[in-house]
């Protein structure tokens, strides 16, 4: 017969205890998150409607909807990613697949890691200096988007490098032994098998770019600007725009007597957009993982 020893018993108890401890911590983390979203939703309920999304703010933002800031955020995010995604991915391919280990690549890699941790207000100041003033773009969608691009670039480089690194070295060696060039190896083996990780990394930066206020408030986002409702081409990239994050800030702190539900509604649209994009990233990841090839 098998009798449990003292040590065995202790191990079993500590094993169960630790499991419960980690579970409790997980719940502690998830509860505030659900409370916040639930509360926002509850308070926003009176204003949430289709119309809320597709009409401009009215009466000095005391009524109306979110059309101008909503479209502005989309412009900012799309333009910034059009810049940062290709540059970031190509830079990561260079750093991971071509660059040899030397002082130059070490400095670049160090810079990437550290730039990813720079506070967004610093990017904002850089954006004002580089794009608004020096490049002469003025306060515009373009200047703000470029500032967001600078902010997201290092993270895209880091996440892309990680995705490329996940492709085993032995695949590359096998290709080189077959007389394939580095580029043929990258195009036929490395990129097709890292694309899901690369895209996920890029998509997660959408939510970051959409949520930031500091980098855009001095570089192109304005307090108020009415645009044609329902026209997705209503903004000019060389002109200023509104943005959800800044809009939320102004109506909650700068404008007195705003109707109760509007700030909550704005917050829900902002959070909802971000969550939607993140969900898309997760779905993409799950889909591509089902076709994982090794």
């Amino acid at each position: 017969m098998f009798t449990e020893t003292e040590i065995g018993k202790r191990n079993r108890w500590s094993e169960n205890g630790m499991k419960i401890f980690f579970l409790v911590m997980t719940i502690l983390m998830i509860v505030p998150l659900l409370l916040i979203i639930g509360y926002l939703f509850y308070r926003a309920l009176p204003v949430l409607s289709f119309e809320f999304l597709f009409t401009n703010p009215k009466d000095n933002m005391r009524s109306g909807g979110l059309w101008a800031p909503f479209l502005g955020t989309i412009y900012l995010v799309v333009v910034s990613l059009l810049v940062s995604a290709p540059i970031g991915v190509f830079a990561a391919v260079y750093l991971n697949e071509y660059a040899r280990e030397n002082w130059f690549t070490r400095i670049v890699n160090l810079a990437v890691v550290n730039l990813a941790g720079v506070p967004s207000i610093v990017h904002a100041l850089f954006g004002v200096g580089a794009f608004v003033l020096f490049a002469g773009l003025g306060e515009s969608v373009l200047a703000a988007s470029l500032t967001l691009a600078i902010m997201t670039l290092p993270v895209i480089i880091a996440s892309t490098k990680e995705a490329l690194n996940a492709v085993p070295m032995s695949f590359r060696e096998a290709c080189w032994n077959l007389g394939a060039t580095r580029w043929q190896t990258i195009r036929r083996i490395v990129l097709p098998n890292s694309i899901s990780g690369i895209l996920t990394g890029v998509i997660l930066q959408v939510s970051r770019a959409a949520g930031e206020t500091a980098p855009i408030m001095f570089t192109g986002a304005v307090f108020y600007k009415a645009i044609a409702e329902g026209d997705v081409f209503a903004y000019n990239v060389l002109d200023q725009c509104m943005a959800l994050s800044l809009h939320l800030f102004t109506i909650s702190t700068q404008v007195p007597d705003v109707a109760e539900g509007i700030p909550y509604g704005t917050a829900i649209v902002l959070v909802g957009t971000v969550l939607l994009v993140n969900a898309a990233a997760i779905v993409l990841r799950v889909y591509l993982r089902t076709r994982k090839r090794w």
Binding site: F171, A174, N177, L178, R188, I189, N193
Partner: protein
């Protein structure tokens, strides 16, 4: 040993360092055309390094430096401009089986395609011939579109060999190919190698940790130790009671150390 042999690869005073750490200390020998050359020696003796110098994949190791020369058909490989063409002259099989994450068909068609071949009929012919030669055709002919990575280890190693044959190499280098392969598959691959040597007239360099494998297959055998070529001679001599060096005798008879 046959008289009147032609030299396929001529290695003279080859030295390789990784950083300042020596891996090969000035070795010289010839590989003859259409022979099976066994290369034996304990870990760290520089066998893999030697193969990487020959097909110039050592260039992917940033801190490796090479002195001396390796001549293929009389041409110093380090002076060859088309390094990709050089690599396709040499089939390379690494210790661990690697199925590329492509279909079985695309695995074998990879090298011909990178070399520019697009003709479907020619590719079909190459895929079938190489899988036949690697003794894998019968097992996979009905599922050429299945992933190469999902084959068993032994099948993947034969796929690797089929791939190494796909660019019609003149030399086949195998680096401890049986390390992750069961004995039966090993025997099948050994038959394949004999056939490639006798029928396809290929020059084969067989690096192996199994000294008996060298004894079974090789015409000549080279014994490496710590970056030095201790001796190279006909397999009969190396495995006889009196090779030139006592240490060779000790190694092949397993009382080494």
């Amino acid at each position: 040993m046959k008289q009147n042999v032609k030299t396929k690869i001529e290695i003279s005073d080859l030295k390789v360092h990784y950083g300042n750490k020596p891996a090969l200390n000035g070795i010289s020998f010839d590989v003859y055309e259409n022979e099976i050359l066994g290369i034996i020696g304990p870990a760290q003796s520089g066998k893999t390094t030697l193969l990487k110098v020959i097909n110039r994949t050592l260039e992917f190791t940033a801190d490796a430096t090479v002195e001396g020369s390796v001549k293929l058909d009389g041409v110093d490989v380090s002076t060859i401009g088309d390094v990709y063409g050089l690599r396709r002259k040499i089939g390379m099989v690494l210790p661990l089986p690697v199925g590329l994450p492509l279909s079985i068909y695309d695995n074998v068609a990879f090298a011909p395609r990178t070399a520019g071949l697009r003709n479907k009929a020619e590719l079909d012919e190459i895929v079938e011939r190489c899988l036949q030669q690697a003794a894998l055709w019968d097992e996979v002919k009905d599922r050429l579109n299945a992933l190469g990575t999902k084959l068993s280890g032994g099948q993947q190693q034969r796929l690797t060999i089929a791939r190494a044959l796909s660019h019609q190499p003149e030399i086949l280098c195998l680096d401890e190919f049986s390390i992750a392969v069961d004995p039966i598959t090993t025997m099948r691959i050994e038959e394949v190698l004999k056939m490639l040597s006798t029928e396809a007239k290929m020059t084969i360099m067989l690096v192996t940790n199994l000294v008996q494998q060298a004894k079974r297959l090789a015409n000549r055998t080279a014994f490496f130790l710590n970056g030095n070529l201790i001796e190279i001679d006909t397999t009969d001599v190396i495995f006889s009671e009196n090779p030139a060096n006592q240490i060779t005798y000790d190694y092949v008879n397993g009382n080494f150390g």
